[in-house]
C-alpha cells in the first residue's frame, strides 16, 4: 500500500513508563482535527479512558499457535521434552504460559499426539471519537506474547483509514520500553516525540530509546515533562539533547491539575487556564511548523 505523503504519522514514545505519553497523546488527539488516533500500548492500553470512544467493531487477533498433547495418544517417549527450547513440556503436557508456539514438539512427536492450533491472543477495537474520527486500540490478552504483531495489525488499519479519508495526522500513543511492540510501532512513522522526565532514571532510559529511534532514521524531538521537579537533571537532559543534535520540543511544568484531570477521566486541555495545558498547546503548535520539514 502506498501511503499518501501528506499524511504525517506522529509516534509518542518514552522508554521509561509513566512519563506522560498518554496525557500528551490525548491532548494531541483533541488538537489534531483531521486525524486518526491509535493506541499501540497493547499491553496496557489507557488512551480509551480519556477519549471515551464508541466501539464500532471488535475483532479477534490470533498471534500464533500453541501446542496441546493428547494424553490418549502420548507414548511417553519424551522426544518433545528434549526438543523444546522453552522448557514448556512439564509432565507430558504443555505449559501454555511457557509455550512460544514454534511447533518443534508437534513435528517431532512420533505418535502424532500433539495438536498445534491457532491461539486467540487479543482483540482489536475499531472506534469513533467526536468529529466522526477513527480511533483504534487493541488489548493483548493478559500474559500473551506477539504484541509486536498486534501493533503491526493495528497500524495497518489506522494507515488505511488515513489514506481513505485524506487525513493530515496519524497520532500514535506508543508502548513503554524498547522491545518488540516499540519496534513495530516505529516502522514507517514520520516523527517521534519522546516524553521524558528530569530524573536520573528518565535520562538513562531516554538515552537507550534515542539509540533505538536513531537506527530508524526518523525525525525526533523530546519533551521534558514535570521539568521543574529537578531543574539540574532537566538541564543535563538539555545538554545531552544538544550533544546529540536532537531538538527540544518543549517543557511541561509539574502541575497537580494533570492528576486531577486524569482522576476525572478528562484531558488536561479541559483546564485551559492551567500552565501544563498551555505548554502542551505550545508544543503542538511548534509541531505544526516542523510538519513541513518531515
Amino acid at each position: 500500500m502506498t501511503i499518501n505523503p501528506s499524511i504525517k504519522q506522529l509516534l509518542i514514545l518514552s522508554g521509561k513508563g509513566g512519563t506522560g505519553k498518554t496525557t500528551i497523546a490525548a491532548a494531541f488527539s483533541k488538537l489534531a482535527g483531521r486525524s486518526v488516533v491509535a493506541d499501540c500500548d497493547v499491553d496496557a492500553a489507557d488512551l480509551f479512558i480519556l477519549l471515551k470512544p464508541e466501539v464500532k467493531e471488535k475483532t479477534e487477533f490470533h498471534g500464533g499457535k500453541k501446542a496441546v498433547i493428547n494424553q490418549d495418544l502420548c507414548s511417553r517417549c519424551e522426544f518433545c521434552l528434549q526438543s523444546c527450547r522453552f522448557d514448556a513440556i512439564v509432565d507430558y503436557s504443555v505449559d501454555e504460559v511457557l509455550c512460544e508456539g514454534c511447533g518443534f514438539c508437534f513435528r517431532i512427536c512420533p505418535s502424532n499426539a500433539i495438536e498445534f492450533n491457532k491461539n486467540l491472543s487479543g482483540h482489536l477495537f475499531d472506534c469513533r471519537i467526536p468529529e466522526n474520527r477513527e480511533f483504534l486500540y487493541a488489548k493483548l490478552l493478559p500474559g500473551e506474547g506477539n504484541s509486536g504483531k498486534l501493533v503491526t495489525e493495528l497500524k495497518k488499519k489506522a494507515s488505511a483509514y488515513c489514506t481513505q479519508k485524506e487525513k493530515e495526522w496519524l497520532i500514535i500513543d506508543g508502548p513503554p520500553g524498547i522491545g518488540c511492540p516499540v519496534n513495530a510501532s516505529l516502522s514507517g512513522v514520520d516523527a517521534v516525540l519522546l516524553v521524558t522526565e528530569p530524573t536520573l532514571s528518565g535520562l538513562h532510559d531516554l538515552k537507550r530509546i534515542v539509540r533505538l529511534v536513531q537506527s530508524f532514521k526518523v525525525y525526533t524531538a523530546v519533551v521534558i515533562n514535570k521539568h521543574d521537579i529537578n531543574k539540574e537533571v532537566a538541564e543535563q537532559i538539555e545538554n545531552y539533547l544538544h550533544q546529540e543534535n536532537i531538538s527540544l520540543a518543549g517543557k511541561i511544568s509539574f502541575d497537580e491539575k494533570v492528576v486531577t484531570a486524569l482522576q476525572q477521566e478528562k484531558s488536561i486541555l479541559e483546564y485551559p487556564e492551567n500552565i501544563a495545558a498551555q505548554e502542551i498547546l505550545t508544543i503542538w503548535n511548534s509541531l505544526q511548523t516542523i510538519r513541513i520539514k518531515i
Partner: protein, 288 residues
C-alpha cells in the same frame, strides 16, 4: 523466598518499592528484570563484581549444502526465514531460536551460531547486606523475555529475592513473575493505574501467584481504587501518599529509605504481611 514487584502501568514506582524493600529486609537480593530499561542500579549504586554476556542461538546456512527447497521458511512459525533463488535470509528480530529450521532441514544445511544479545551484572551494595543482579538487553534486540529467564537463574533460593519486573502484562512481565512465591502489584490513584492493575491482577491470578497491592502516590479522593481492592478481597499492603520530597530524591537517584529511615519499618511490615498471607494459604497439613 522470591517476591516479584510488577505493575501493568509503567512509572508507578516498581523500582522505588523494590529497592526500598530490598534495603529494609536484609540480607536480600535485588534482581532487576526490567531488562529493556533497568533502573535499579541508579538508586542502589552497586559495586559490580562480575559481568557476563548472554548469547542466544541464531541459524545460519551453508549455501553449499542448501538446495533452496524452502522447507525451513515453510516450517518457521515466526516468518523469520525467506528463501530466494540462490540465498536464504534470516530475520533475527523475528527468530525465537527454537531450532525448528536447523533440525528439520532435509539437507542439514542449517547450523546454529551463538549471538550476544545482552548482559548480566552481579555485585553488592556498599555497607549493606544486599546483593545486586541486573540484566540489560542490547538496544535493538527483541527478546527481552529470553534474557529475563537467564537473569532468574542467578536467584539465591535461600535468601529473600526481590524481582523488579518490567511494566505491562505481556510475555516479559510473565517471564519475570511466573513461579515467584508472591507478587506485589504497584499501582497509583488514577484511572490508568486502576485499569492496568486490573489487567495485571488477571495475569497473576491465572498464574496462581498470591498477591497484594501497594498504592503509590495514594490519593483518598480517588475512591474507585479502594473499592476495587476491597470488593475483590485484594490485600492492600501499603499506601504511600504523593510526596514531592520523595519524587525529588528519586530524581537524584536517592532511595526514600535513605532519607527517611522510618520508612524501613513500613517495608518490614509489608514483608511480614506477605509472609502471613503465604502461611495462611498453606493447608493445615503443610503448616505442621
Amino acid at each position: 523466598m522470591i517476591i516479584s514487584i510488577a505493575s501493568g502501568k509503567g512509572g508507578t514506582g516498581k523500582t522505588t518499592i523494590s529497592v526500598n524493600l530490598a534495603l529494609s529486609v536484609q540480607p536480600s537480593v535485588y534482581i532487576d528484570c526490567d531488562v529493556e530499561e533497568p533502573n535499579g542500579h541508579i538508586l542502589l549504586k552497586p559495586e559490580i563484581t562480575s559481568q557476563k554476556e548472554i548469547t542466544k542461538k541464531m541459524p545460519a546456512v551453508d549455501l553449499n549444502k542448501c538446495t533452496f527447497c524452502g522447507k525451513c521458511s515453510e516450517l518457521c512459525e515466526f516468518n523469520a526465514i525467506v528463501v530466494m533463488k540462490s540465498d536464504v535470509m534470516f530475520f533475527e528480530d523475528l527468530c525465537h531460536s527454537c531450532g525448528v529450521c536447523s533440525n528439520f532441514c532435509p539437507e542439514r544445511a542449517i547450523y546454529e551460531t551463538e549471538r550476544s544479545f545482552g548482559e548480566i551484572r552481579k555485585g553488592h551494595i556498599k555497607s549493606e547486606s544486599v546483593s545486586f543482579i541486573d540484566g540489560t538487553v542490547k538496544v535493538g534486540e527483541m527478546h527481552g523475555a529470553q534474557l529475563i529467564k537467564h537473569v532468574r537463574k542467578e536467584i539465591k533460593p535461600d535468601s529473600i529475592n526481590i524481582i523488579d519486573a518490567p511494566p505491562g502484562t505481556s510475555c516479559s512481565m510473565v517471564a519475570a513473575v511466573n513461579g515467584t512465591d508472591f507478587c506485589i502489584l504497584v499501582t497509583e490513584s488514577t484511572p490508568f493505574g486502576l485499569n492496568d492493575l486490573k489487567l495485571a491482577v488477571q495475569v497473576v491470578r491465572s498464574l496462581g501467584i498470591p498477591f497484594g497491592i501497594i498504592i503509590n502516590k495514594y490519593d483518598e479522593n480517588f475512591t474507585e481504587l479502594d473499592s476495587y481492592c476491597s470488593s475483590g478481597n485484594i490485600p492492600v499492603l501499603l499506601k504511600i501518599p504523593f510526596d514531592r520530597k520523595i519524587a525529588e530524591h528519586y530524581s537524584r537517584g536517592i532511595p526514600p529509605v535513605q532519607v527517611r529511615p522510618e520508612l524501613k519499618e513500613d517495608f518490614r511490615q509489608v514483608y511480614k504481611t506477605v509472609n502471613s498471607i503465604m502461611q495462611a494459604r498453606c493447608t493445615p497439613d503443610e503448616k505442621r
